[in-house]
Subunit: 335 residues, 2 copies
Amino acid sequence: MNTTIAIRKPDDFHCHFRTGQMLQRVVPFTAAVFARAIAMPNTKPSKQTRQDAIAYRGEILDAVGNDFQPLMTIEVTDRTTPKMIKDAVDANVIAGKFYPQGVTTNSQNGVSDFDALNPVFAEMERCRMRALFHGEDPSPGVFCLDRERSFLKTLRKIVETFPELKIVLEHVSTDNALFAVSTYDNVAATITAHHLLLTLDDVVGGLISPHNFCKPLAKRPEDRDALLKAATSGNPKFFFGSDSAPHSRGTKECAHGCAGCFTAPVVLPLLAQIFEECDALDKLQGFVSEFGADFYGLPRNTGTITLFKEDWVVPEEYEGTALFWGGKTLHWKTI
Amino acid sequence: MNTTIAIRKPDDFHCHFRTGQMLQRVVPFTAAVFARAIAMPNTKPSKQTRQDAIAYRGEILDAVGNDFQPLMTIEVTDRTTPKMIKDAVDANVIAGKFYPQGVTTNSQNGVSDFDALNPVFAEMERCRMRALFHGEDPSPGVFCLDRERSFLKTLRKIVETFPELKIVLEHVSTDNALFAVSTYDNVAATITAHHLLLTLDDVVGGLISPHNFCKPLAKRPEDRDALLKAATSGNPKFFFGSDSAPHSRGTKECAHGCAGCFTAPVVLPLLAQIFEECDALDKLQGFVSEFGADFYGLPRNTGTITLFKEDWVVPEEYEGTALFWGGKTLHWKTI
């Protein structure tokens, strides 16, 4: 039985740092474990330009210093132009993030018409900028559990029109999405730790649990099992993005609570535990430290991180921010 | 266009009054509109005997006086005997309520083995006591959205073993359950107002909304549409039970919130609005004032209640108890 695991220093290819005081509080958790992390742009207001991304990179680095490398993104909106794409790429912005309008936290500026963005997609393809999708169809009349599947039509159209565009379908939650990703050459997917753990039963199956509420919603047990299989398969199309999303307890425990799980402080031990339970600890390094870097064309990290076998109880909150898996015991610990 | 509706005084065939101060606060809302209401027995501790029911009837009447008639029930548990059934019937207890163990609020004493209760079912059949089921299968591994469908196997077995037993499948939430009820001679179903309004989208489709969280969970739009069709069909197998279930705001807006919607103060205007939108106001009286009484073998009420067309905004809470449909506008008003 393993009592330590040493793996190549990992990356988080999907993270929400927010801004201001919240950013100051949460970035150190990610930087303590990950060499790099994609900083998602849906702050308030969102990061939509080269200048926004440069300033946001500075704010993140101010919180932790230069050992940590934030990977910058801009939000693509109906007003994004090809020139804005080129300018951003010139400033080392590595991805453009697409939110269908209204689909999740701070997505009011999201895209209302993907077809109208064809010149933007063409420029991203030319500049080798990755296109990241929150893959849910927010159309009225599409039932919450069907939104990811319904988005796959849009994905297919973009893939067929821009075959060289490298696309990440973010935080996939269904067997349908895994299948779609596996069929397209230039499409990969991030998988979160919480989607490997949760089903809708954990949100509304017993009492209603806002701290397990995220978008896309956790789905059926069959979907969760398919995600576990994909994450532990060693298939390089599936890699880790935490979607760590901090919220104050008050914005979760209320009449209309926000979506998102703040996993950064627990996520590597959680992944080790999940992979161990799947008898797949040997697949952890590829999933968290290699496949994502490869897909983004980044060098793999050179350092190492070690996890020790030790039980510890996750605190319920950290300075007013609700922690995912609060009150539960984890069996692995970093440092 | 109607500006008033006068209907026979209605009954609520499924209501939670709780006990103590909460009971004092909530019973008057039901008594203001309904001539009679089934008082569900899953208080803390639950009402399991003739004596419990007699005392509970007294507590309810103390809160409102004799113009209102509570219809008493006992919870059937693994420890219920045929003699307890007969004794309860002799004290005018009209129904025994079955909760599968652990399925909803205060169901810790629920039934763990329905087969073992065959002598109890036989006595209920003999005494013409109605059998009321919270029809969800709480077995581990049954996904939350599948629990009602999974319970239908248990229902079928009971129906086939006790063909003369009059059964109510409570607060049905799926097309599957409606179909099952429609196929059995001695089985009827209550339908709540909130299941006629909500889908899972209203619970977790946007933000997470604990005030729309109930058991059984609101399901897919197709299920909600089937419920609307059944309620407005004029089929006497489907009648009204509010499942009005008061909770303090604090037990809803928290990390692990309780299931239940407190609808009593708004439910008749809400039903009028729903039936009007379905162009079925002529079917309202049967649903709320006649079919239930007929199924229970009770006389139909003789008085009348009138609703007026007038817009009003539902308060968010009443003395700390969260109101269903809070902040929304209703178009009908009683008195």
